[in-house]
Amino acid sequence: MSSTEALRHGRPAPDDLPPLLHGLGRARFANRRATVVTLVVAAAALIAVMVTGSAFEHAATQTDFLAKNLPPGPGHLFGTDWMGRDMFWRTLAGLATSIRVGLLAATVSALIALLLGTAAALGGRRVDAAITWLIDLVLGVPHIVLLILISFALGKGYWGVTVGIAVTHWPSLARVVRAEVLQCRAAGFVEVAQKLGRSRAQIAVQHVLPYVLPQFLVGLVLLFPHAILHEAAVTFLGFGLPPEQPAIGVILSEAMKYLSAGLWWLAIFPGVALVLVVLSFDLVGTRLRRIVDPHSAQD
């Protein structure tokens, strides 16, 4: 925006903007490369955490009453808890659990968004109004309250929290998908395809899907950190994963009882680990969106 405006006013672009013409391409390429690097690093870290966390789950629940309440040190990097469980392995296993739930919930939620967003765009005015109203309904109750209700309805536990996140997180992405499909339908190439006698299904698969896919994938990536955050929150409140499962929410809610005894490491490390995962995927999602949607790239 600012660079075109600078052009219109016949002034040189301010310093903080990349030079126009060839310089812009280079800047964009650099941005793209940085994005790919962040994406690869984040994905690799994700896989590493999932593999090690799942593989060493026994280490996360193994108790050792000779090594209770140890502060962080060489033997136990993140310390141990009141049952002598190693907090490093517990954190890893907890992250792995959270990531599994987050991936599943975010994917299902994104698919709901794709379905409802497309339906809203193509289903006629009534369907559109109904879905818009459904979005208002879902957003009309605070997420946490809705998650508690859904989790309660499903009898808590793994499915309670996963389904809860899946059915509450789709509205924003559904709006994006709806706008994209509407834009695509109005595009010339779809009209040409129709004139050429392509069926609706063919148009949907060959033209609409590739058009929507980039935004959809970015939306999926951005949903994932949200899903993890809410899973941890709901589990922390006692409506999510069961206490015997090592999950970040479980670890932190257990840690609460021991904070006054000075066992600060029970809360610090699992929380930092969670923030790092969420932050890196937020970053990846935002960077990807800049490439896919140049309108959001002004900054």
């Binding site: 009309g140 946490i144 006054s260």
Partner: protein, 329 residues
Amino acid sequence: MGQWIGFGLRTLAKFALLMAAVSVVVFVLVSVSPIDPVQANVGQAAYVGMSEAKRAQLASYWGTDVPLAERYLNWATALLRGDLGTSLRFNAPVEQVIAQRAVNSLALMGIAWVASGLIGAALGVLAGVRRGGWVDRLIKGYCFVLASTPTFWLGLLLLVVFAVQLGWFPMGFSVPIGKSAADVTLADSLRHLALPALTLSVIGVSNIALHTREKTIDVLESDFVKFARSRGQGMRTVLRRHGLRNIALPALTLQFASLAEIFGGSVLVEQVFSYPGLGQAAITAGLGSDVALLAGIALFSAAFVFTGNLIANTLYAAVDPRILRGRRS
């Protein structure tokens, strides 16, 4: 004037429709739960040793033997009369529990709302003015990290630092333990409110700061600001004369529209600090299968969020009269 009446009527209809839908959804959700209220409240051991007749009596007391639709109608008609039922956990009418708890929650949320709004807007303006500089980057980074931080974990962190290690603030609750209600001073209450309010304020800053930053940049790039600057006005004067009005209203509107997030955050914060507000009551109700209270609080939260959105829309309408004619984008 006529436009405003139309706007009001439309809003009222919307509210009624939304609350009706929310009440159905909430009621179905709390009713289909496989967690048997009898078993959850009586306890496993007592339940097993209980006679069949006693179980039937309890089931009718909790209303589990009536069909769902009928139960909903009973509940909804009572609801319209302002009767939300009886809380089983607190052994009091639900509306009474909510009223009592809402005072605590609203105090907490009110402080956080004002503080996060003021600090967030200030940071946003600062970042926007210093766009691209290190101050901007610092504020942006700070907001980004905050957006990824779980509210409850931040609460735990502040608890560890200020209550456990430094001992400046109490560990939780809204009043000192063991003190009778009459002896509690305002200072006591404030000391107990400080950490929860701080947590909630810090988390709330992120959104408003980023939004205000965008707005500030937009305003600073507008023609009237450029003109004012070219006439030789300093940045401060420009901001005071032309910027703040354009920046403050969207910020205020956003702050009203984000009541859902503040409410959600307060649920988590109240649980961390054992603060006796609505959120903590909702959790107690959910864990203890106190269906009436859970449903009541859910309805309250929906009405709360709706009010926030309504104020936001009204503010918009006051600025942009096209909204009054119902042509919302």
